[in-house]
Symmetry: C2
Subunit: 351 residues, 2 copies
């Protein structure tokens, strides 16, 4: 508290990212980072960039990057907005579209940054409960609203919603629908093609997960040019140059390296399959995942205790002390070796 | 306009950065970039960073960078906030401190992003006219207010305000005073030591000008821990990881290379002195500058016409079509060679 803070600052309940303890080396399966490095071509692009040019401002429009993304998705660059990580893109989107007379809708269990953005921009919201099995019932969103945002696959549940349900929600809503596809490349089908049909649909993706570039901060939104124009008006009233020069060249190179992208996503999917089977053998229920993490609960051992015991043993996973999911662990898919360490550690703890 | 935009987006009047035309090679003296490269040590830090680690999120707290800045300014890291360029730091500051019952005050001629931030966060403001000679009268700010922000040196005028005047404003104000020191290293004295005495003073600086790192996007705020805490609450409700990993290591290396920093600032100051004399000989009035740019007007030739003629001849400067300054040009200090090109081009145009 400070006399100098605005009311908003006083009322905020900021987001808390996954812990990054420095006290020992952990097998780090708690922040959904990719265990594989970025494309060698992205690294090459950074290495060969003439660093003297860093004295100049970056391209404020990120033109080459938007063109590369547009080409990949068979759209125009006017359909693409890029920002300093998808969290920034989400923040701008909340301010650009969701401060309405009617309430914003999102699932009661989803990305815990959404209610924080609502606090930051004084947006009223209503949370829609997931079904008992943690799936989303699209019909629940067919109510009066000032906007809808849904992660697909959902986090922390990892469960994918069918594209037909997303289309239904877009068709029935008269406000903006955002599909937050941070994890879509690990087994889902993107809603981006639907943006050609629905001018109220905005799809947000990130370079932090499937492209292994969390350290460079890059995210983007795809949608009708009028939605992108709205985001640009916010961005140009906040920070003219959100994406730095090295991130721009690395991102373009990553986009152009489709084989590596496909290969590393497939590797995660294979490892997820194996880890799921191994965990089931240890008595875990594993929700069907289309993400680079799994959401698991054990038939006898409590999640909070397991989280602490795993941390003690050098394996970090994520635990949320929240109603309905307080007996679940969210576990990032690492390398095969990292998952083997997890499994053998759990084996020791459980038997 | 779009039916999907919020009222704020509809009402926004976004900032327009200096033009970056791609049609030909210009001598580019329009966006106050530094003509010299970043410190070789900063470039080395990027080159030697193990790029595989870019798969991991950056340190969300930018701890090493905040420690390096704290050490340089003889403060604690709790007194330092870093962001994705000083524009982001400014934006967060407006939201954290300036949305108050009373109006924010800033000079009628200053950084043209300030009124844009006011639009973005619905902050009411009052502009205080500069004196006839473009200096700031500190007594004018001793009125009821919800905050004060002043660039020092001011932009686009380039004129420095004495530290004693800043101290007077801090002492007399019961709200937050921000001194925006983007250009302070080119001949001014920073107000940072005053932050130990005045808990309502926040000083904002950037790596984009004196440290030649505009392409990496880095800015910071210095002040009492309670002000920094307020900024952190905003940042952690907007984007947990605003500063990427490469920018963090490069910035630390830049801060530690004090000799290069001093040397490149001195070079700009020398070039500014020479350019000022040369322009005076050509009939220009040059305001006394403590920045890496000068603000000039010609005794007979109109500024708008000169701007267009210079652009035609391949030299870009900045022209603002605004009352009181519509007969002035803002000219960035480039290398000696670039300034010589400017002078000889002007010589050709004027004689």
């Amino acid at each position: 508290m400070s006399q100098y803070w605005t009311d908003i600052v006083n009322k905020l309940d900021p987001y808390i990212p996954g812990e990054q303890p420095q006290d020992q080396q952990y097998v780090k399966l708690n922040t959904n980072e990719n265990p594989y490095p970025p494309s060698a071509k992205a690294i090459q692009a950074i290495d060969s960039y003439k660093k003297d040019k860093l004295k100049l401002y970056p391209d404020p429009e990120s033109t080459l990057l938007r063109e590369a993304l547009a080409f990949r998705f068979n759209l125009q660059k006017e359909n693409i907005f890029v920002g300093n990580g998808s969290d920034e893109v989400l923040a701008h989107s909340f301010q650009a579209f969701f401060k309405q007379q009617k309430n914003l809708l999102f699932p009661d269990l989803s990305y815990s940054f959404y209610p924080v953005y609502c606090g930051l921009y004084e947006i009223e919201s209503t949370t829609i409960p997931l079904n008992e099995n943690f799936t989303i019932n699209s019909a629940d969103y067919n109510i009066d609203n000032g906007g809808i945002i849904i992660p697909n696959p959902n986090a922390p549940t990892s469960i994918l919603m069918p594209l037909s349900d997303i289309e239904k929600i877009c068709r029935e809503s008269s406000s903006v629908v955002i599909i937050d596809e941070a994890y879509i490349d690990f087994g889902g089908e993107t809603a981006i093609p639907l943006t050609k049909k629905y001018d109220n649909l905005l799809v947000i993706q990130t370079f932090s997960k499937s492209r292994s570039m969390a350290g460079l901060r890059l995210g983007y939104a795809v949608g009708h040019a009028a939605l992108i124009d709205g985001l640009n008006r916010i961005k140009n009233s906040f920070n003219s140059y959100p994406v730095d020069s090295l991130a721009q060249v690395a991102a373009v190179a990553s986009i152009k390296d489709e084989p590596y992208f496909q290969q590393s996503c497939q590797k995660i999917i294979q490892t997820r399959k194996k880890a799921t089977e191994d965990l089931q053998k240890l008595g875990f229920t594993v929700l069907p995942s289309a993400a680079n993490f799994i959401f698991v609960t054990h038939q006898t051992r409590g999640a909070q205790q397991l989280y602490a015991e795993l941390k003690q043993a050098g394996v970090l996973v994520r635990y949320f002390n929240k109603p309905r999911i307080d007996n679940y662990l969210r576990i990032t898919i690492g390398t095969d070796e990292e998952m083997q360490t997890l499994i053998s550690t759990l084996h020791g703890l459980l038997t």
